[in-house]
């Protein structure tokens, strides 16, 4: 178990760095899920659990910089425990969310603890020591890596056995209830997206998208392409209005 826990902890460290730096999005559950699955010897379970957790976090992005529950630890711990305890993919959410929320709190502490470092940076800037600034950034990446490494290692190495017992004891309705909750979680992300975008003049597009999926059962990619087509039509229409306006203005100014 030590080897597996270490491998998962390294994955968490890399993913944690990617969450803020790199942003290649290898930190999303849809990627970390199957990797954890490979490490623990159950790729398929990792894939499916990762995909279900991806849905939970869909839309929970750092909008305007506000930190949502931590997707790295939530995804990795959720998938790891689901595989280790041989629970259903949906039950992963029961483990993932509490951990993700706790880490969200710790991140706030980390960002606060990093503040005093800025004064060191000021001194370095005054001395034009740009290599020093570089080093502080490398150091900070190291801190981020260790932070996630430890947070993933401890619960998996020490908690897997206990978690197995808990899952075995838990009644069926609890597991079922967590599954139901998991199915509802994506609504939070969507609601947060809507908070920003849902203005009166955009409501028709929202309705069209919903109907296309609910009645026509179109896949998401088709709906996205339809959305792009509408946006293009809208753009060309606005271009036309602009051109007409310029032509009219041009007439007055000697018709250039």
């Amino acid at each position: 178990m030590l080897f597996e826990a270490l491998m998962i902890a390294i994955l968490a460290g890399v993913a944690g760095v990617d969450l803020f730096n790199g942003l290649t999005h290898i930190h999303r559950p849809i990627i970390t899920g199957p990797i954890v699955g490979l490490i623990l010897g159950d790729l398929e379970m990792g894939l499916i659990t990762g995909a279900s957790l991806e849905l939970v976090w869909m839309g929970m992005a750092p909008l305007a910089g506000a930190q949502p529950p931590n997707v790295v630890i939530g995804g990795i711990i959720g998938v790891a425990f689901a595989i280790l305890t041989q629970a259903e993919p949906q039950a992963a959410i029961g483990v993932a969310v509490p951990f993700a929320v706790a880490v969200q709190g710790l991140i706030t502490l980390l960002f606060t603890a990093m503040s005093p470092m800025m004064h060191r940076c000021d001194e370095l800037a005054e001395k034009a020591d740009w290599k020093g600034i570089d080093k502080i950034n490398y150091l900070a990446i190291g801190v981020l890596f260790s932070f996630y490494f430890i947070l993933a290692f401890l619960p998996i190495y020490f908690g897997a056995e206990q978690a197995k017992v808990v899952v075995e004891v838990a009644p069926q309705w609890v597991m079922n209830g967590l599954g139901v909750a998991g199915g509802l979680m994506p609504a939070i992300g969507f609601a947060m997206l809507m908070k920003i975008m849902f203005k009166q003049n955009y409501i028709p597009y929202f309705i069209a998208g919903f109907l296309a999926a609910a009645y026509l059962e179109l896949p998401v990619i088709a709906i996205a392409l339809v959305g792009i087509a509408i946006a293009m039509a809208d753009y060309f229409k606005s271009q036309q209005t602009v051109t007409q306006a310029t032509v009219q203005a041009g007439d007055v100014n000697d018709g250039i």
């Binding site: 942003l23 990762g50 503040s115 800037a125 034009a128 740009w130 509802l184 609601a191 908070k195 929202f206």
Partner: protein, 296 residues
């Protein structure tokens, strides 16, 4: 952001400028050496774009991305400012408060480097930098978090759910094709256009956010119907007939009626300012209670 009025935006820009000035340690406004700096090569700009990936390495609540921002500019700044006094002035300027969208930052970096090279006044560079932070944050949210990520994730998830490893791979490839294309493309565009890019940005921000919002909201509508799962399992006995609430009551009205209603309810809470944590807690409680009483 196209979602805000002009007035709200300029008020925000003013607040940001104040914030940057508060953290300023500079008492000069000009570079000693006024001759234009060395021309930056394509490699220099690419290097800057690569470094921009570490923008949030030292993220903190006091200056936010300032140190990571400076990290991205460092090698190019050294090439531009050969004497230490000017390098120090420039570094102090860029250690001021900074926060923008982590994807589109390379665009501001390009513009700022063009201005540094032509040795603009420090206060002008600061003003331009701060003026771009807010609008780019808005476009970035609309483009990356609200449109690109949900679409790529939805594609990946639908494949992964069937047990195909193509799902995660497709997700990564699609997302990063757009991500790195924009990051490098905008870095060069920003540097080549210099401060002219500002008017272009101003002109296109509105149209761009508008288009991204159309695509984004269409997709969100579809995602609700596809991925929010809510089904009544309760069966009501009326005399001898038993009526399944889901199949006999809700489905005939409209498919996916309950997921839509539920999402609108959560939307209402989010708008009211209820914290996502409380909402998560509420959903788990609802799931457990619904399962215990056999309605969900």
């Amino acid at each position: 952001m196209a979602f805000n009025s002009e007035a709200a935006m300029s008020a925000k820009a003013k607040r940001m400028l104040n914030k940057a000035q508060e953290s300023s340690k500079l008492d000069v406004d000009e570079y000693q050496d006024q001759s234009p700096g060395e021309v930056l090569s394509r490699d220099d700009i690419n290097r800057m774009a690569v470094r921009s990936l570490a923008l949030q390495a030292s993220f903190n609540y006091e200056r936010m991305q300032a140190a990571g921002w400076l990290y991205g500019l460092n090698p190019a700044l050294r090439k531009i400012h050969k004497n230490d006094t000017d390098m120090s002035r420039s570094m102090q300027l860029h250690m001021e408060f900074f926060n923008t969208h982590p994807f589109l930052v390379s665009f501001i970096m390009g513009v700022v480097l063009a201005m540094e090279r032509s040795k603009e006044r420090l206060s002008v560079i600061r003003a331009i930098k701060v003026a771009m932070m807010g609008p780019l944050g808005g476009i970035g949210d609309a483009l990356f978090w609200l449109t690109l990520l949900p679409i790529c994730a939805a594609l990946g998830v639908s494949l992964a759910m069937e047990g195909s490893v193509l799902g995660p791979i497709l997700f990564l490839v699609l997302f990063n094709a757009v991500h790195f294309g924009l990051r490098f493309g905008l870095a060069h565009y920003g540097y080549n256009a210099g401060s002219r890019a500002i008017s272009a940005l101003k002109e296109h921000t509105q149209k761009f956010s508008h288009a991204a919002t159309i695509v984004g909201l269409t997709v969100v509508g579809g995602l609700i119907a596809t991925f929010v799962r809510l089904q009544m399992t309760a069966v009501v006995e009326v005399g001898k007939a038993s009526i399944s609430l889901q199949e006999d009551l809700f489905d005939p009205i409209m498919p996916k009626l309950l997921p839509l209603a539920f999402t609108m309810m959560i939307f209402y809470f989010v708008k009211k300012g209820v914290s996502p944590l409380k909402i998560i807690g509420g959903i788990v409680t609802m799931g457990l209670a619904g399962s215990y009483f056999g309605v969900l």
